[in-house]
């Protein structure tokens, strides 16, 4: 027994170091995702793009879009909401390993489309986008609070804030999965 153990130790110590310059990703069939140099986003599997994926129909008229500061204001709002949420200890973990560049863009497009500010939504539908996240109502509430904070920072009138929330709130059935 002792002899066998000693032999095993000698064999372990004595084995050759792995050869230099081996492409281990290739050996194991791992494909490295590369950000698109133009958009800065990781590639995604193909899906059918449609405004129906936005999860609601746009508001009527253009006054609400104005109250949100038009497309530039809505873009700042979407980006700020994502940044606040990434820094929010209650829900930060949800965003780890997600493509935040893409999220900021698709969230902007969704807000912009719903507020009738002249965008098309090119992201996935709410059910598919949130399918693997295991979100709870408390997570959604935290996100709403961050969105509300971002809207306050941008001086969006409260009634206008609620009109955007009114478009988003019914999506909870596709977002909350446990």
């Amino acid at each position: 027994m002792f002899v066998l153990t000693a032999a095993a130790i000698v064999a372990l110590i004595g084995q050759q170091a792995p050869a230099q310059g081996v492409d281990w990703d290739k050996q194991f069939g791992v494909q490295e995702k590369v950000r698109d140099p133009k958009t800065g986003e990781f590639p995604v599997d193909p899906y059918t793009q449609s405004n129906a994926n936005a999860g609601a129909t746009p508001v009527k008229g253009e006054s609400l879009a104005r109250q949100f500061g038009g497309q530039p204001g809505i873009r700042r709002l979407a980006e700020r909401t994502v940044e606040l949420s990434e820094a929010d200890p209650r829900i930060a973990a949800i965003f780890v390993s997600h493509d935040m560049v893409r999220l900021k863009r698709t969230l902007f497009e969704q807000f912009c489309y719903l507020l009738n500010a002249g965008c098309n939504y090119t992201g996935r539908d709410m059910k598919t986008a949130h399918a693997q996240m295991g979100l709870r109502k408390a997570d959604l509430n935290a996100l709403v609070e961050n969105l509300q904070k971002a809207m306050r920072e941008q001086k969006v009138p409260f009634a206008a804030q609620n009109r955007l929330l009114a478009k988003l709130a019914p999506m909870s059935k596709d977002v909350i999965t446990r």
Binding site: R90, R136, K137, A138, L140, N141, A142, V144, E145, Q148, K149, R152, F158, A159, N162, R163, L165, A166, A169, P170, S172, K173, I176
Partner: protein, 291 residues
């Protein structure tokens, strides 16, 4: 150096008391959105000041247990009201509540021969179950719906019987539907109540002719001014089992979430006629501490 420190302390104290800095106040995090736990009714349930809503007390959602306490005073021309209590909200599904009501008859007590400043007291034990729906989320036309019961134990049985009530204890049954219509920043509640209570139970239940349950209606309308502020009005019908001219109740209220955990409610209330003393209109003040 010391002067500087005092100045700094003064400034931070100023910051704490200024609403503009309310978000910086240290608070115990709860999972519910601000004000969606409602305030506390005179019966100890979560709702408006007077009307029981479908909401569940406390600030926790589906995985937590929330707790809420309150104190309420009402100042009327001939009477004084004080109530306080504790409620627990389990998984945003079940609410258990207790409230103690103390009703000071002041000079009326002497006029009625029960004694100057005689206080009528009542314990109210409540249980509420959220059946379905969500106050904020989900189908925008589907309200949050809850059923509840309130067991009321009047501690002044001889007086309740003397004014003609059949009993000094009774149970109310409620069915409430509440929804926040975000597109209009409007909160709407409608509640049906089966009750035998005379003046909330403070004058007992039913009458000598054995008046049974009657169906009463309650409603609240609230407009959200901000995340922290709501103004609105309430309405509540009541039976007149004792033939003392008991009237419907009305109020106009404003509620403000001072911090995530402390909500103050002020209201103008019209409680109509109480024990033949008419025009009982006055001020309602309530403080709620919720986690």
């Amino acid at each position: 150096m010391i002067k500087k420190r005092i100045l700094a302390a003064g400034l931070s104290a100023l910051a704490l008391t200024s609403p503009a800095y309310a978000d910086d106040v240290v608070s115990v995090p709860g999972d519910k959105l601000l004000l969606t736990n409602g305030v506390t009714t005179i019966e100890g349930t979560s709702g408006g000041g007077m009307v029981t809503w479908a909401t569940i007390a406390g600030r926790e959602t589906d995985r937590g247990i929330g707790v809420s306490t309150h104190v309420t005073v009402i100042e009327l021309p001939d009477y004084g009201w004080e109530s306080h209590g504790l409620s627990v909200g389990i998984a945003n599904r079940i609410e258990l509540s207790y409230a103690r009501q103390n009703f000071d008859t002041r000079n009326v007590g002497a006029a009625l021969g029960i004694g100057q400043n005689y206080k009528l007291n009542q314990d109210v034990y409540g249980a509420k179950l959220r059946l379905f729906g969500d106050l904020v989320y989900g189908n925008p036309l589907l309200p949050q719906v809850s059923v509840g019961l309130e067991y009321k134990h009047n501690l002044d049985r001889p007086i309740a019987l003397a004014v003609g009530a059949a009993n000094s204890e009774g149970t109310d049954f409620t069915l409430s539907a509440t929804k926040l219509f975000l597109a209009r920043s409007l909160l709407v509640d409608t509640t049906l109540r089966l009750t035998k209570a005379n003046q909330n139970g403070l004058l007992g239940f039913g009458n000598a002719a054995d008046a049974g349950y009657s169906l009463q209606f309650e409603g609240s309308l609230g407009y959200q001014l901000s995340r922290r502020a709501v103004i609105g009005g309430e309405f509540r019908t009541k039976p007149d089992n004792l033939g003392l001219g008991e009237k419907n109740w009305f109020d106009l209220f404003g509620a403000y979430a001072l911090t995530d955990n402390v909500t103050l409610t002020a209201a103008y209330v019209d409680l109509g006629s109480i024990a033949t003393f008419n025009d009982q209109r006055g001020a309602f003040l309530s403080a709620q501490l919720a986690f």
